[in-house]
């Protein structure tokens, strides 16, 4: 496998590779396929190749439905590569710079209440007649989206960017402008769609920019607490069924604000712990009596990590489930066995494996959903910003 690794990697990167290498790679692929090797080992070079494909090749028109979320696809691709320790080895310097430039291309710097990032260039009106006439489309048609702001910042930090091209103060005003009177957050200005996902993205953004003073923290916590269910999980909002992804968003948000322990009784914490642990069969499900899915091996295990309970479930079963969902031909991970791979599940699968310290993967931070390496870089920036006025 060791020699095969470099062989398959090079076919991905250089289409003009030598025929010998191609043959080796082919043999290697056959071996993996017929010996069902993907069930017992992580096909790292295949996933690196898949992530490069997501980031740098032209995705098929089937991805049109993800058009407004290209920033999140980028986040999944780049963070996956980071977990695989390959952002520098598999991406040329120029390619990394191109990615950074593209992210900044989607930044809305002003007015302050619209500040942040968009998910794609579909509605970037920077250079249009609106702007030339000194105006902008109405806010509900042209403003940042909180999930994209989160994904952009994580991606920039992952690529080692020093964030000097963002307007920190305006982005924080943009986040504040999205908070609703019940403490929750809407996705984008004028859009009344609101739930726990946007709460998490807002909290992460404040954390990454090291400033919670623009948002109403007590109200935010009130909203999170109101979404705690009788089952011991969290839902998208009051009354709705508990769900593992929303549970993660709620718990991680409270930890990021350092308000978890004071918000819950020991009894409630026990309910939460039990609910999370009961989600395991082999992998994890997102709700009781629902099927397992790769992504919950991140959402649930990250929550358990925060609750200091990562040792309480069965790791080998979880790893076996995740490895079984790999695609041994094109790379990537699907939501379950024999399912199409996609960037989200590839990322969640790798992040889930990183949480259980799968060999050779970079550690991931279970609060921010980015690598510890990127978190270290972020902390250095925080120190640099200390005492500085917002620029």
């Amino acid at each position: 496998m060791a020699t095969g690794k470099s062989a398959s990697c090079s076919t991905a990167e250089e289409s003009s590779s030598k025929s010998q290498t191609r043959t080796n790679s082919k043999n290697n692929e056959m071996e993996i396929f017929f010996n069902r090797k993907w069930r017992v080992e992580l096909l790292k070079p295949y996933h690196v190749r898949y992530c490069r494909h997501v980031l740098l090749s032209r995705l098929s028109s089937g991805y049109e439905e993800a058009d407004t979320q290209r920033m999140t696809l980028l986040h999944f691709g780049i963070t996956s590569m980071d977990i695989l320790n390959s952002t520098e080895s598999a991406l040329k310097r120029e390619e990394r710079e191109n990615i950074i430039n593209w992210i900044y291309h989607l930044q809305i710097k002003e007015p302050a209440d619209r500040s942040g990032f968009q998910g794609s260039s579909t509605f970037m009106f920077k250079s249009l007649s609106y702007v030339q006439n000194g105006g902008l489309p109405p806010a509900q048609l042209f403003s940042s989206h909180i999930t994209m702001t989160y994904a952009a910042l994580v991606s920039l930090l992952t690529l080692g960017d020093d964030l000097h091209r963002i307007d920190r103060k305006n982005i924080l005003s943009g986040v504040a402008a999205l908070q609703n009177s019940d403490g929750s957050f809407q996705a984008s200005l004028g859009c009344s769609e609101k739930d726990m996902r946007f709460v998490y993205c807002a909290v992460c953004t404040c954390y990454m920019l090291n400033d919670f003073s623009h948002v109403n923290v007590p109200k935010l916590i009130e909203f999170i607490k109101s979404s705690f269910t009788f089952e011991g999980s969290f839902s998208s909002g009051y009354g709705v069924e508990g769900h593992a992804a929303y549970t993660f968003c709620a718990v991680a948000s409270l930890f990021l604000m350092d308000r978890f322990e004071e918000s819950f009784s020991e009894n409630e914490m026990e309910h939460l712990r039990r609910w999370c642990l009961m989600r395991q069969e082999y992998g994890f499900s997102g709700r009781p009596n629902k099927a397992e899915d790769t992504c919950y091996s991140y959402w649930v295990v990250a929550t358990l990590t925060l609750l200091d309970s990562v040792h309480m479930f069965h790791h080998p079963r979880n790893v076996e489930f995740l490895l079984g969902n790999q695609n041994p031909i094109c790379g990537g991970i699907g939501k379950c066995d024999n399912e199409h791979v996609d960037p989200l599940h590839t990322f969640m699968g790798l992040a889930g494996l990183a949480l259980v310290q799968y060999e050779g993967l970079n550690p991931i931070n279970p609060m921010l959903t980015m690598s510890e390496k990127a978190v270290m870089h972020m902390r250095k920036l925080h120190l640099r910003w200390k005492g500085q006025e917002y620029c």
Binding site: E65, F125, N289
Partner: protein
């Protein structure tokens, strides 16, 4: 109003080739100098979105823009900006009107039908449900901040209330756990403040599939809306639920429900906990009693009762024995968790139980 109906019969004509659109300047997407995560947009996608950008740029809010948004949504229903543009147009051309006893305004009705069709086609898309919520809010004049409706006529409200319940029921007949449909249904029940028929619906769903956790959640939602947590009311509900518990002892959902239900109780909590423990007892000793969620609740309730009441060496010993059983045979994948529960349990009660044992021995 919409082009979607025409599409099936007539071949698609690009907007750039339509004479009635010649006055609009199409605007290509500004990808910047180095696009990444690029998508190979189809020619139709690029054409429609070039015109969407064109009309946003000029600020046009007209009927033809409404039909343009229909095409754009058809190509990407997750594009929240296009949905927003559609709502802006609807408002600008005066489509939304308050409902009265004769029903929805004709043109507004068409918009409801359009959205309902979209929901049926793509049932798990956030935007379609969000749009439906906006339409309902317009029709009844709902104000989120005050949680009040402008429309007061009960007949008029009833038309819409039934329509929305039917819509969610239809969607839940495809997938009874559709999160979006449940969320919408709960919102409808809460703004119309009418939960009267919901328990019957929940019972029907639980009869169809007792493992439907969404239906159990809905049961809790309905029960708590009644705000009666007296011992009589809770006991009545416990009796009703027990019929579903017995059907599948290993089903996690009803045990969670019972835990939630009893947490609502005030002073009568220990009484209800004892009742559940007593009802579990016959199963615990039998083979079918190896239900992880049942034993989990059983142990938890005994733990609670011991904390708040008299020590009971027999129950203490039984729980320790059950936990050992859980660790070794019943639920080994969570062995470390049950081990943790065992430690907590023994630390909490071990000494007092030991004292009592000692006392019993001394007395003997």
């Amino acid at each position: 109003m919409s082009t979607s109906d025409d599409e099936s019969t007539t071949p698609h004509v690009f907007y750039k080739d339509r004479p009635e659109w010649q006055d609009v300047q199409p605007i290509p997407s500004d990808e910047g100098p180095s696009p990444v995560v690029a998508i190979d947009y189809s020619e139709q996608f690029a054409d429609v979105y070039n015109y969407i950008r064109g009309v946003i740029n000029t600020g046009e809010l007209s009927r033809r823009v409404l039909s343009l948004t229909c095409d754009a949504i058809g190509l990407n229903a997750a594009n929240y900006t296009v949905w927003q543009l559609r709502r802006d147009v609807l408002e600008a051309i005066g489509v939304p009107k308050l409902i009265d006893e004769s029903g929805l305004d004709k043109e507004f009705e068409k918009e409801f039908t359009f959205c309902e069709k979209m929901i049926e086609n793509i049932q798990k898309n956030y935007q379609v449900w969000h749009h439906q919520k906006a339409l309902v809010s317009w029709a009844v004049g709902y104000d989120e901040s005050t949680k009040t409706m402008q429309v007061k006529n009960p007949e008029a409200l009833d038309i819409l209330f039934k329509r929305e319940l039917q819509l969610t029921k239809d969607i839940l007949s495809y997938d009874a756990k559709n999160y979006h449909a449940w969320q919408h249904r709960q919102w409808i029940l809460s703004i119309f403040k009418d939960y009267s028929g919901e328990l019957e619906y929940v019972n029907q769903l639980l009869t169809d599939d007792v493992r439907n956790n969404s239906a159990w959640n809905q049961r809790y939602f309905v029960f708590t809306s009644m705000q009666d947590f007296s011992q009589e009311s809770l006991t009545e509900e416990l009796n009703a639920v027990w019929e579903f518990v017995k059907v599948a002892l290993c089903n996690e959902s009803p045990w969670s429900y019972l835990r939630g239900l009893i947490r609502l109780a005030g002073d009568c909590r220990p009484t209800l906990q004892k009742e559940v423990v007593a009802r579990c007892k016959p199963f615990v000793s039998k083979k079918e009693g190896t239900s992880v969620p049942m034993l989990g609740l059983y142990i938890e309730f005994i733990d609670d009762l011991l904390r708040n009441g008299e020590p009971d060496p027999e129950e203490f010993a039984e729980v320790v024995c059950l936990l050992e059983h859980m660790i070794k045979t019943i639920d080994p994948i969570r062995a470390k968790y049950w081990d943790y529960i065992m430690t907590k349990f023994v630390n909490a009660h071990g000494d007092s139980e030991l004292d009592k044992f000692t006392k019993v021995e001394i007395n003997a």
